[in-house]
Amino acid sequence: MSEMKKKSEYLVEVNNLKQYFPIKTGFMKTTPLKAVDGVSFNIKAGETLGLVGESGCGKTTVGRSLLRLYTPTSGDVFFDGERVDKNSIGHMRKQMQMVFQDPYSSLNPRMTVEDIIGEPLDVHKLYSGKGERRDRILELMELVGLNAEHATRYAHEFSGGQRQRIGIARALATNPRFIVCDEAVSALDVSIQAQVINMFEELQEKLGVAYLFIAHDLLVVHHISDRIAVMYLGRIVEIADADDLNASPIHPYTQSLLSAVPYPDPKMAKERQRIILEGDVPSPLNMPKGCAFRTRCKYATERCAQECPTLTDRGNGHMVACFNK
């Protein structure tokens, strides 16, 4: 299998990734919590895939399983044609990095900025002397717009935006080709968000990294992504080009998500119709049979309760998992 995949056009390929967590539901009894239930997508080199969905739908878990912070229950992840597993992850760590959501807990309060950014360099021994390490760190700090004199300071002396820049510099230290941005701008306020997002784009142009951009803010995701995948309860329900998805969403869940995006223009906002979903998100411990979304879907039919829709191509690479739309 892996030999055949060798010359792939994709940098990252995810095939039917499943991640279940055992949850104790009684004495000596566990029920699997299906955080991610059969997710497949591809990312080309230098491309950005946005991943959106509401809280608890498994976006973060996808990112973390991808980088093997968890051992996936089943499914394959290929990086640059090579299967990611326990043995190969060691040398892949250099190529795949992550930027975290919370700029406050993602930096060790007992380390200076220099040591935080230098940690991946230390782990992979990417320098031959103290001077080279220092040069590389200062270069990275300049790249993300931090002053060189900040190198000896501690993380708590910085603002949220600056901290996120430190986190990004750390992710870039090993010259990765793929970065998972796990809600990387959600914790920042809007003006800082714009700065950081623009920086992500600039870095992509300069260094050619690919992003998996996880977020719940559709506007942000639309701005940065080439393609967008929409997740609901552990499954991808729609995946399409960013503009295509924004202009003509097909899946009822995507439609309602898009209708909830706040518009900056009050006139437009008034005219627009909001699709309000009824009911709550079902518990991932007790998922409905068939299509997970049918309990809240106004188009649901008998068939939705029987079988689970798979992603089908509706032209132009616009994939949707729905029988009725």
């Binding site: 990095q97 919370d102 807990s105 935080i116 991946p120 782990v123 992979h124 002396e157 750390r170």
Partner: protein, 361 residues
């Protein structure tokens, strides 16, 4: 700079109701003022910050002073006072039978005679005990023994507890389950009973005659260290494990994992430095409790071997003639109180200064 001045002229006329800021009302900052912006507060590390807070705490600083004074006494007094802890007072080479049970600063008949003849006798600051030994030197040596036991026992407890707790907390799952059940079992044993049993058994079985250093300490001291090491690390291990479980959740640990760091590096670089403040505090509070246990053991006769004094055994001996010579109980008891109080207050001060949860600025 050019940019703003250009904009200043091009600014459209401000309409009366707009919130637009009138740039003409602003002055340019002088170079001096700009320089002031550059000066920021000095970068402080967590440790420096904690020490600064500790220095502001009068109780903690007072305890440090008291402890330093006691330490200084322990080292200096045996060199100044011409008596040793086991030496019965002799005058002119003759054993002084009248020198027992003297009050502080009292001289025996033989000594008075010797002074009258022009000889010099060092005063007995705390009097003498029932065998005619200088009590001041004995109390100082007792303090030395008690402090040594307290410090070493805490170090042993700290080492075992931190190692055990961090392994258990970091690896979690089944490892944690098994390791913590072992701790529960040890924790559930009645510890005083175990201490007494172990120190009796160890005293009989320990062979320390071969090693000169250990011989000097005596089998009782060694057994006491072992007993503390075996029994009292459990509390420390539990606390460290709890700390590590919370620190493990932080995203910087995930970040280190993603960077490819091994478990050892993560524990060393990320987890331990972040719980070190709690460990320091717990260690400081462990010392008085070890001293207290040692005193208690010596009091019931299981502690250090005679003629080596410890504060507990001195207090026990002082109990015998309580009505006639109350100072013989008071001196060692006051010493125990001073040491435990000072360490407790210091521990509290350290916690206030270093525990991030208790921070209030």
């Amino acid at each position: 700079m050019d940019n703003t001045s250009k904009n200043l002229d091009e600014m459209p006329k401000k309409s009366p109701l707009s919130f637009q800021i009138d740039l003409k009302k602003f002055e340019k900052a002088t170079d001096d003022e700009k320089k002031q912006q550059d000066v920021m507060s000095e970068s402080t590390s967590f440790f420096k910050d904690g020490m600064r807070k500790l220095r502001k705490n009068p109780l903690a600083m007072g305890s440090i002073v008291v402890l330093v004074l006691i330490m200084a006494m322990i080292f200096i007094v045996p060199h100044i006072v011409p008596y040793s802890y086991s030496q019965i007072i002799t005058v002119n080479g003759r054993r002084d039978k009248t020198a027992s049970n003297m009050a502080p600063f009292e001289y025996s008949q033989l000594e008075q005679k010797y002074i009258e003849e022009g000889g010099k006798v060092f005063p007995h600051i705390m009097g003498t005990d029932e065998m005619g030994r200088d009590y001041f030197v004995r109390v100082i040596y007792g303090t030395r023994v008690s402090l040594a036991v307290g410090l070493f026992a805490s170090i042993i407890v700290l080492l075992i507890g931190v190692l055990y707790g961090s392994i258990s907390g970091y690896f979690g799952g089944k490892v944690d389950l098994v390791m913590m059940r072992i701790v529960d079992i040890i924790y559930s044993l009645p510890d005083m009973l175990m201490v007494i049993l172990l120190s009796v058994v160890l005293r009989e079985t320990l062979k320390v005659d071969n090693i000169a250093f250990l011989q000097k300490l005596g089998p009782n001291m060694i057994s006491m260290f072992i007993v503390f090491g075996l029994l009292y690390w459990t509390g420390m291990a539990r606390m460290v494990r709890g700390q590590i479980l919370t620190i493990k959740q932080n995203e910087y640990v995930l970040a280190a994992k993603i960077s490819g760091a091994k478990s050892g590096r993560i524990i060393r670089k990320h987890i331990l430095p972040n719980c070190v403040s709690v460990i320091i505090v717990a260690g400081a509070l462990q010392i008085p409790s070890a001293i207290f246990t040692e005193s208690f053991l010596s009091f019931i006769g299981l502690g250090v071997q005679a003629p080596m004094p410890s504060l507990g055994s001195l207090a026990n001996a002082g109990r015998a003639g309580l009505t006639a010579y109350p100072y013989k109980l008071i001196f060692p008891a006051v010493m125990i109180c001073l040491i435990t109080l000072a360490f407790n207050l210091l521990g509290d001060g350290l916690r206030d200064a270093f525990d991030p949860k208790l921070r209030r600025d």
